[in-house]
């Protein structure tokens, strides 16, 4: 896998290299000479750079003849390869550092180089050496020369609506670090504007100095004739100049070494720069009246037209869409619809055209295409052609009007069926009705209500209905009851004393029933045992004490502590004594006495239940 990748990389590299070689071969060879400054003082140094563009495989160019300068050192050689949008450009520079020997204007003669048998020479330069520095700050750069702006137009005279190219150029000497660029566009009243492409960036030599240029271009279309002005454009930026830190110049001999500058760093100083261009005056001529076609609608430029239709076989009333495409150079936006040459008004029903505009080229000039889709309906079956189409424009280069006429397109029309009332578009002849607010003609009350089914007496509020409000208690009672019941059940399972207390009476009744059955069976001992147990177990349950410990003395104390009436306490004491005595003696009493004892025990338990509940 790695092997394949390696071969792929090599293959791609070869393709790229060979692909560029072709372009390199096609590149022009030229030699340029530039200086870093063309006015300098005797103490300055001049950097002369001879650059061979288009190749790097040449011998060094010949050193030019230079008067008034001595060569300090050089050349230092630099090779450069640039790839801009796939276009590779190469160059090789030879830089010499010269020392002026005298004041005055000196020319630097052309340098020559030979490449593949051809000789190439650079342009001569002129350099002026002056006496002393013009600036108070010897370290401050000559900003006027380093950075400047220009505003220009491609023509100073034009016709109304003719395309004029406005160009703003920002020059700054190559290698200068410029930042914070703020561009204020010129005021172009009375013009329509279209931006031309992106910002351009290139190099340009001015008076022997190499500048970087940023160019912004705009297409202007004057909307009126007369002397029109374009105000100046302004540009603000900061120039960043590296300077040595504030050290004594006398000691610079030692520390002024580049090594120390690199080590300690250089101070970067920002010079705010503001530049303004000159205003431009333009003379705009009106379009000539002579030779103006009737169908001329203001198009100025160089245009052509194409016309087509999709359907050529149709029925009466069927729509035909004519596609009319006007294209060329000029103000595409303002192109008006071409005219149809209709012989008889009732031949075709014509609808307004819809248009789409497309700017196809913005690089050099505004070029584009405006397509008009016009729907027409043939109204007669004997029509053989669509109307001819005419478009007129003024050609400013030729200085005259031109008319393009497209011949009618043949069509075949069959007899139509009944026209369907489908409205596709609105024609100019029959403008759309203006929307208006719906107005109330009269205001009146709405009719009476007569819903007898819902006619019920609403006079009694629900909250005043005693039955309803009474019923509201039911759920509350149910909730309270459920709450108490749940609580009771919980206590029965969790609280033994409570459970015994609750069931004491029931258990006592069972024992009394046992006594009754013993009575019927004439078991006297068992009878009195049941009675005694009924009372003592009842009291044991009520006081939550073990049944065995419910002796007569203890229960009497407990009854007194619970505040039971004395007569009941005495009766309990007496009954327990009496029942125990009769239980173990032979004198168990008569039937009536036993029945009386049972009744007495029942009443006693009932009394205690009332007292202890």
């Amino acid at each position: 896998m790695r092997r394949y990748k390696f071969y792929c990389c090599i293959l791609i590299s070869v393709v790229i290299v060979f692909g560029h070689v072709g372009k390199l071969c096609a590149q022009d060879i030229r030699l340029t000479a530039t200086v870093d400054q063309n006015i300098l003082t005797l103490g300055d140094q001049l950097r002369l750079t001879l650059t061979i563009h288009g190749t790097q495989d040449t011998a060094p160019p010949s050193f030019p003849v230079i008067e008034g300068f001595t060569l300090l050192y050089g050349p230092s050689i630099s090779a450069q390869t640039r790839n801009v949008n796939g276009v590779v450009s190469v160059s090789k520079g030879y830089t010499y550092v010269l020392q002026p020997a005298a004041k005055g204007k000196f020319s630097i003669g052309p340098s020559t180089v030979e490449f593949e048998g051809k000789m190439y020479s650079s342009q001569p330069l002129t350099v002026e050496v002056v006496d002393k520095s013009r600036s108070s700050d010897p370290q401050a750069p000559d900003l006027e020369k380093l950075v400047f702006v220009e505003l220009s137009v491609d023509k100073n005279e034009a016709y109304v609506n003719e395309q004029i190219i406005l160009s703003f150029k920002f020059y700054f000497q190559k290698g200068l670090p410029v930042s914070d660029i703020n561009y204020s566009e010129p005021t172009t009243k009375s013009f329509m504007e279209e931006k031309l492409g992106d910002q351009r960036q290139y190099e340009e030599i001015r008076e022997g100095v190499l500048y970087n240029v940023l160019e912004l271009r705009t297409a202007l279309f004057p909307m009126m004739s007369g002397e029109l002005a374009i105000s100046s454009a302004k540009l603000k930026c900061n120039l960043i100049v590296s300077q040595r830190r504030g050290r004594n110049t006398s000691s610079d001999s030692y520390f002024g070494d580049a090594f120390f500058d690199d080590f300690f760093g250089r101070e970067q100083k920002r010079y705010p720069i503001e530049r303004a261009t000159n205003a431009i005056a333009l003379s705009i001529k009106p379009l000539p009246e002579e030779g103006k076609p009737k169908d001329f609608k203001g198009a100025v430029g160089s245009f052509d037209m194409e016309v087509s239709t999709k359907t050529q076989r149709l029925k009466v009333g069927d729509p035909i869409t004519l596609s009319m495409s006007v294209y060329g150079e000029g103000n595409i936006q303002t192109i008006q619809e071409p005219a149809l040459v209709i012989n008889k008004e009732d031949d075709f029903k014509v609808y307004p055209a819809e248009s789409t505009t497309q700017i196809t080229n913005r690089e050099e000039l505004i070029r584009g295409r405006k397509v008009f889709s016009k729907v027409i309906e043939p109204l007669k079956p004997d029509l053989k052609f669509t109307p001819a189409i005419v478009f007129s424009f003024f050609d400013p280069h030729a200085g005259q009007y031109k008319t393009i006429t497209k011949e009618p397109i043949p069509i075949t029309i069959e007899a139509g069926e009944q026209e369907l009332p489908i409205q596709l578009t609105l024609s100019h002849d029959k403008p759309a009705l203006a929307k208006r607010q719906v107005q109330l003609l009269t205001e009146d009350i709405l009719p009476p209500m007569a819903n007898l089914a819902s006619l019920r007496n609403q006079g009694h509020p629900v909250y005043r209905n005693p039955f309803v409000m009474g019923c509201l208690l039911i759920p509350a009672v149910a909730v309270i009851a459920s709450f108490m019941l749940t609580r009771h059940k919980e206590r029965l399972t969790s609280d033994v004393g409570y459970a015994r207390t609750r069931r004491a009476h029931t258990v006592a009744k069972k024992r009394l029933n046992g006594a009754l059955s013993a009575l019927h069976q004439h078991q006297q001992g068992e009878f009195y045992s049941c009675l005694s147990k009924a009372i003592s177990d009842y009291l044991a349950d009520k006081f939550n004490i073990p049944p065995a410990s419910a002796t007569e003395d203890k229960v009497i104390v407990l009854l007194q502590q619970r505040g039971v009436k004395d007569d009941i306490v005495e009766e309990v004491s007496r009954s327990l004594t009496d029942f125990d005595r009769r239980r173990f003696s032979k004198d168990s009493g008569t039937w009536d006495e036993m029945e009386h004892s049972l009744k007495r025990a029942e009443e006693l338990i009932t009394k205690m239940e009332r007292q202890l509940s």
């Binding site: 205001e443 009146d444 009350i445 709405l446 009719p447 009476p448 209500m449 007569a450 819903n451 007898l452 819902s454 006619l455 019920r456 007496n457 609403q458 006079g459 009694h460 509020p461 629900v462 909250y463 005043r464 005693p466 039955f467 309803v468 409000m469 009474g470 509201l472 208690l473 039911i474 759920p475 509350a476 009672v477 149910a478 909730v479 309270i480 009851a481 459920s482 709450f483 108490m484 749940t486």
Partner: protein, 295 residues
């Protein structure tokens, strides 16, 4: 507590409520039956429609007669203790047709208590209010308040009561099952229902207060002087006209102490132009009871 002891309590409570109603005189009158009310109502509607046809045929005296008869029949139903929003609405319509704006507005307002959602009623009331002379009078509740407390204005008293009762029963059911089931999620349901119930009960109380606690009235005379005190001997303070609404604060003999919202022109200039800003001002005074009909 045993069920046997609850039942007498329930009857005692019902008896108490019944007694309070008798004390208010609400059950003392013998009410008109529904069948009778429907018969009269249908008859009155028929007369109203006949009147409309007569108006269309420019037979105004006979139309007026028919409208009077319809009015009497509607009034008969209402005085018979049978109250319904439709009857008040139709009665308002007959008064409107007869040109008695004040009485029309009173009856529309009464109908609105039973039919708060009726669009027709709102339209007729707006039209009647627009026809009044004192156009700046405004006792309407702001729309934003109506939107926020929509249930208060969307439901009438009885509907709100039924919602409250339903929520109460639901709450009790939840409580009942929470006692039995001991399900943890029921607590949240309980909190939710009880919160809504609280809001509904407060709303119901507020609605009852607004409709019964505060006395609203409408001027039914063509012109009415509001005086500084309860008597003819007091100077007139301002005058209001047929259909103007007021709030009754107090009463003394044959006089009501009322306050009304009146439109006043803002700014010092007395001769203000039509485009000038106006604002509302509350003015109070005394007027005779015969000029006012309470809602």
């Amino acid at each position: 507590m045993k069920i046997c002891s609850v039942i007498p309590l329930f009857f005692l409570y019902s008896l108490f409520l019944w007694g309070t109603q008798i004390a208010h005189g609400e059950l003392s009158k013998s009410e008109m039956s529904r069948d009778e009310a429907i018969k009269l109502f249908a008859d009155a509607n028929e007369k109203y429609l006949q009147a409309i046809k007569l108006i269309a045929s420019k037979n105004l005296p006979e139309a007026d007669q028919k409208l009077k008869e319809a009015t009497e029949q509607y009034e008969t139903i209402l005085t018979g203790g049978f109250k319904n929003g439709q009857i008040y609405y139709n009665l308002g319509n007959t008064y409107y047709r007869r040109g008695e704006l004040g009485k029309a507005i009173v009856n529309y307002r009464r109908a609105a208590r039973f039919m708060p959602r009726s669009v027709d009623l709102s339209a007729n009331l707006r039209l009647a209010k627009d026809s009044t002379e004192d156009k700046e009078l405004s006792t309407e509740i702001p729309a934003i308040v109506k939107r926020i407390f929509f249930w208060l204005f969307f439901l009438n008293q009885n509907e709100l009561s039924l919602v409250a009762i339903s929520l109460y029963v639901l709450l009790m059911v939840v409580l009942f099952f929470s006692n039995i089931c001991k399900y943890g999620g029921i607590k949240r349901i309980f909190i939710g229902i009880s919160s809504v119930l609280f809001i509904v009960v407060v709303s119901l109380g507020l609605k009852i207060y607004l409709e019964r606690g505060v006395n609203h009235g409408v001027i039914i005379a063509s012109k009415c002087e509001v005086r500084y005190g309860p008597g003819e001997e007091y100077e007139p303070k301002f005058e209001i006209h047929n259909g103007a609404e007021c709030v009754i604060e107090d009463e003394k003999n044959d006089w009501y102490r009322v306050y009304v919202k009146v439109g006043v022109k803002l700014g010092a200039g007395s001769e203000a132009s039509a485009g000038e800003k106006t604002g509302n001002e509350v003015r109070s005074g005394w007027l005779q009871k015969k000029y006012v009909d309470t809602i």
